[in-house]
């Protein structure tokens, strides 16, 4: 009875325990259990009493059986955690405390079980572990390490990533001094020292881009950030991160270096370089292009097109080229182009236009490269002029050699023939006749030599220089010298030359030329009328043109044109025709880099247009 009552009392006491508790007898059958225990496990059959524990926990761990048996032998066990699937099929975790149940005589009469639901705790721990792993991964990948400075204990801790960044072994123990010493001497070390100092003294957080030298001696760029921690106004220490940004910084430096290199290269190339967009607007120009277009700053050209910069016609040609390159995607290479700026300056370029092809395989602009070949072009022209002059002189030389050889030969042939006659001639009268002819031949030879000499002098006398000469004055002088001759022939000179006209000539040649043309005009007058000679001038490019127009007999230029200025060519049956005047005149004009153009009509008259080259 007593026992029964006691049991009943015990039962009731246990039932009310606030902790999940169960009492098992030696057969491991549930004797008492707190409501909490029954509730915890939410057994399908709430009547647990008298049931064996392993009937209730079918899937329990083998180890537990051993623990319970140990308890029955009086051995208290360590706490154990056990996973249990509840009726709702959810994972639940319990911490078990198994202790022997003693009676008053210290006999083991069973086992007392105490369980605590630690599901939430376990889940939290798992989460924490997960987050920790995740954080480590993240910091590993981002190369962001963390550190913590405990000011009170003067302890500095680095995370694994921080240690990796510093390239120290994982058991390395940093302190504030060694940590600062990792920063590169100079700017980096000074900056971090001051930043830490300020953070500790003034509570100012920092974030600096600095260089450090790792334990292995490698230089790295890092962003070191730190933040002071206060609790109730008391400074506890600093926590912060260190991020390895070497790759980014190096890439950035490399990019900047490349940019600088490219810019220096493009700017200093002796070529005009530009990039145009699809509307032919300039989006990049180099220094040469700026210099060429006479602007100091590239911004003055950006956004402008060729119509803004060049002569309209030239701009249209350039735009057409741009469109061709953009549409065909084929570059134009080394094309000789003539550029005329708005102020009229002409430049010759060797231009290449290369399409800028984007990912979509269409052009989104073009690169232009122009090489100024104006000086080259000018030199080429000068060279061509020189070749022309040389070949002309060569031709003249050959021509002159023929004239010399022909004329001298004809005289020498006469001498030879006459001397041969003289030797064999017996007749005194005939001998005298031959001797007379020999004298004549000798005079002819002398005259020929004098003429040739004059021609040679014109072509070789480089001492004579061109001088600005008043044309009207020279004409007046020549007319005065010829006054008698003109009067005898009833010739009239009509001078239409302006008073102040000055031409660049060798004065002696000008006189000789005027003398020759005027005398010729009178000599070859049309017998039925009095000679009228009109002198006038006009301008033609680099020449001043003097025209001498007569109303003489004229000459058939179809027949004689090519011989008009030849040596010893005469075309009229005139007693004074020697065939030397015009030849010399032509040589004099050519010696002054001029030329003659003749117009003539038989019976009407002749006009000689004499082109005087204004240049020296």
């Amino acid at each position: 009875m007593l026992k029964g009552t006691q049991t009943g009392t015990n039962n009731y006491l246990v039932k009310q325990l606030p902790i999940a508790t169960a009492f098992l007898n030696r057969k491991l059958e549930v004797v008492h259990a707190s409501d909490k225990w029954i509730e915890y496990f939410n057994f399908p059959d709430r009547d647990v009493f008298g049931k064996k524990i392993f009937t209730l926990f079918k899937d329990s761990h083998k180890n537990w059986q051993k623990v319970l048996n140990d308890c029955l032998k009086g051995k208290a066990s360590v706490n154990g955690a056990e996973r249990f699937m509840d009726s709702e099929q959810k994972d639940r975790w319990f911490e078990w405390t198994n202790v022997p149940w003693h009676d008053e005589k210290e006999n083991v009469i069973g086992v007392i079980l105490q369980t605590e639901d630690i599901t939430d705790k376990v889940n939290n721990e798992l989460n924490l572990e997960k987050q920790h792993l995740l954080f480590n991964d993240k910091s590993e990948i981002a190369k962001i390490g963390s550190w913590n400075l405990d000011f009170i204990n003067q302890e500095l801790t680095w995370c694994t990533t921080s240690k990796r960044i510093h390239e120290v072994s994982l058991d390395f123990e940093p302190n504030i001094d060694t940590a600062i010493d990792f920063y590169k001497q100079g700017y980096s070390r000074n900056t971090i020292s001051m930043a830490v100092e300020r953070a500790m003294v003034e509570g100012v957080p920092f974030s600096e881009k600095l260089q450090l030298v790792t334990a292995k001696g490698n230089e790295k760029w890092v962003i070191a950030s730190g933040k002071p921690i206060f609790k109730h106004g008391i400074f506890l220490g600093l926590m912060g991160t260190i991020q390895d940004i070497s790759e980014e910084v190096l890439a950035d430096i490399k990019t900047k270096e490349n940019e600088l290199l490219l810019k220096t290269l493009i700017d200093n190339l002796p070529l005009n370089v530009f990039i145009k967009d699809l509307d032919s607007k300039k989006v990049l120009v180099n220094k040469s292009e700026c210099d060429y277009l006479g602007v100091k700053n590239a911004n003055e050209l950006l956004g402008k097109n060729d119509f803004d910069l060049y002569d309209k016609k030239i701009a249209q040609i350039s735009r057409d080229e741009d469109l061709q390159v953009i549409n065909s995607l084929k570059p134009i290479l080394g094309k000789e182009t003539r550029c005329v700026k708005k102020d009229g300056t002409v430049t010759t370029f060797l231009t290449s236009k290369i399409p800028l092809i984007g990912d979509d395989k269409t052009a989104n602009g073009l690169i232009g490269i122009s090489l100024d070949i104006s000086t080259l072009k000018q030199k080429e022209e000068e060279l061509r002029d020189l070749i022309n002059v040389t070949s002309l002189q060569n031709k003249k030389l050959i021509n002159f050699a023929h004239i010399v050889s022909h004329n001298l030969r004809s005289h020498s042939a006469n001498f030879s023939m006459l001397l041969d006659f003289l030797i064999n001639e017996q007749n005194g009268e005939e001998r005298e006749n031959i001797t007379k002819m020999l004298v004549e031949a000798s005079d002819n030879l002398l005259e020929t030599l004098e003429n040739l000499n004059e021609v040679v002098a014109i072509n070789t006398n480089t001492n004579l220089n061109k001088k600005p000469t008043a044309l009207k004055e020279t004409v007046a002088k020549v007319v005065l010298n010829l006054a008698g001759f003109l009067k005898n022939n009833n010739a009239k000179i009509i001078d239409e030359i302006s008073d102040d006209l000055v031409i660049n000539v060798i004065p002696a040649y000008l006189e000789s030329i005027l003398m020759n043309f005027i005398t010729n005009a009178v000599k070859y007058k049309e017998p039925s009328r009095n000679p009228r000679i009109t002198l006038g001038t006009a301008k033609s490019g680099k020449y001043t043109v003097l025209s001498i127009k007569d109303n003489g007999m004229g000459i058939d230029l179809k027949k004689y044109g090519d011989k008009l200025f030849g040596m010893y060519k005469t075309f009229h049956n005139h007693k004074d025709a020697r065939g030397i005047g015009l030849y010399i005149t032509k040589n004099q004009i050519e010696a002054m880099q001029g030329k003659i153009v003749t117009q003539s009509k038989v019976g009407i008259g002749t006009t000689f247009n004499i082109y005087f080259n204004d240049k020296n």
Partner: protein, 134 residues
């Protein structure tokens, strides 16, 4: 002595004309030697002769360099005339220019007349060779 009915000398140099005449007198008997100072005078005479159906010269001595109408222009005009009989034309020049020789060859190939090219001075030994009826 060769007998030639008529000879023309077309040359503007009196010394050459004198020389040719003097040389001719040693090799040929000629009824009529006429001289012309340029090609135009000679060709005009020849045209007139043809029109009048009179006899043409058998031999012509021709200079190249002459005013008004030179030797080549004369040849050009002469070979275009309808003259059935062969006439001998002796070019007499001081020119040694290859161009002149080429021109001679060209005219020679264009006509049935006999054309020779002779450099001045003409020697006694050579005159008889070129003074015969073609």
């Amino acid at each position: 002595m060769i007998r030639i009915s008529a000879i023309y000398i077309i040359d503007d140099d009196p010394i050459t004309v004198f020389g040719i005449k003097k040389l001719l007198s040693t090799v040929a008997e000629c009824d009529e030697i006429t001289t012309y100072a340029n090609g135009k005078l000679a060709i005009d005479q020849i045209k007139a002769t043809l029109e009048n159906k009179k006899s043409l010269p058998e031999v012509i001595f021709l200079d190249i360099n002459m005013p008004i109408m030179d030797g080549w222009q004369f040849l050009e005009a002469f070979i275009s005339l309808a003259i059935p009989q062969k006439i001998r034309i002796n070019i007499v020049t001081s020119s040694i220019d290859a161009v002149d020789r080429d021109k001679w060859k060209w005219y020679k190939s264009k006509t049935h007349h006999t054309i020779t090219f002779n450099n001045k001075p003409i020697k006694k030994e050579g005159i008889s060779e070129i003074t015969k009826v073609a």
